[in-house]
Amino acid sequence: MDTLLNSPFIADLVILFKPALYNIYFLVAAVPLGFVFAVVLALAKNSQSKLIALPARTYIYAFRGSPLFIQFFMFYSISLALNPSVWKPLGLDWLMLSPLFIGPFVLMLNTAAYSAEIFSGALQSVPKGEIEAARATGMSKKQEFRTAIWPNMLRLAWPAYSNEVVFLFHSTTLVYFTMPVINQQQDLMNKAGELFEKDYNLFLHFSAAALYFLVISIVIFYICNLIYKRLTRHLNVDVKLKIKPNYTR
């Protein structure tokens, strides 16, 4: 037991525990708002009115068509440029320049675009019969959305969406590649890089960080699967835990 605890790999896992929490924080802070924004964007994209559909389309195309790395740099530098004239006088500079705010903010904007594409695809494949049935029973637009469109959209989009969440988790590594570390608030890759620079033991530190990513990815898949089970509980299909991920984003 003692030798196990003293092994450098276990020591690394202990050191990397706190940095892993920062990655999880970025994910947890970005996902809920990103989800809401994505649903709004997907509905706007599928809207009849060109005036609403076009901005949504442009936004999704721009954020899916450019690297997240550049988006981080861009929003951080915009915030830096606004600092002397806007944030400082308002006393908001502690918030607006903090990676703990800008990180989740940009991740949210990014994941909203990717998820909106998934949701809008799902919206288009909602079974027509169910919408017609809702109309035939005299439901209002709001009721029709709540009972026919929304549950179907969520169920159809969920497998792809859980894949997107894992991609987003992997993207959280980019936060501290683009923004300065404040008060030892390091994430996994940053801490692993720092450990590497001390003793150049590449395999040890990077595989410890990789193990964290793998395990947390599997946990995310597991949680998403539980939700998927709940979403499809009326359908009598056998949902198995799918660790085998999708490869497209």
Partner: protein, 278 residues
Amino acid sequence: MLEMLPTWLIDWLGPDGMANLAYLTNGKHLAWYASVRYTLIAAVCGAGLAVIFGLLGAGAKLSKFAPLRWLGDIYTTMVRGVPDVLFLLFFPLAFEQGIEYIMAKMYCSPDAVAAAGGVACKEAQWFLTTTEYLVMACFSLGIVYGAFAANVIYGALKAVPKGQLEAAQAFGFNEREVFWRFQVRQMWVYALPGLSNVWLLLLKATSLLSLLQITDIVAWADRLGAPNYLPMAGLVHPDWRWKYYLVLFIFYILLTFISERFFGFLQARASRGMARAN
């Protein structure tokens, strides 16, 4: 250089326009424009290697020999479970350390290694330049996105109609010929949409080259945009980084747009003669 412009253009631009043009064509900016080559080389070579690794991975996944099949599955799952940034940093460093280890075994006496504190002695140390980093960036991109491509190609190989392969077998082609001449040849049409997705991911990943000490477009944008003070002129410009990053943002969107057009054209060409709905 700018004096060579025709006079009507100089008149039309005016002194302000000329000053802007001079600023945008100074040496540092020309170096910035030239550094686009690193991005494009990494994207094209990385994509080529990704297809090769993808074919190998898909071949391994389809193999009848179980350990090879496991190897293929481990390769594709490993890469997908861990961020690409980690691999992008890992492979070049691992390669560098491996070379140094071999060189230390060849050239260093044990005393010299002990004197250097357990690392390679002076003769065995290897300093990487941009070229070497670029080659290794291509390989890491190839390995990482090869796993993505392997999955696409694996699906596409299975999508080739069985009848085609059985017909080939009936004509007396052996197993290898059936695979290479029929299954792989016909696979591309089914793989193309997926491969275009992988290409778009890879293209976006080329923005990470600056993490590998390559002075690419991102690193130049950071340098050019930083507040610029000249001893003689005072402040040339304040913090303009956001403008430079905005340009890169639009540049990548344009690259995506062009790629999508290109793959659409390719898809239309590849599926000539195929049955289509509507």
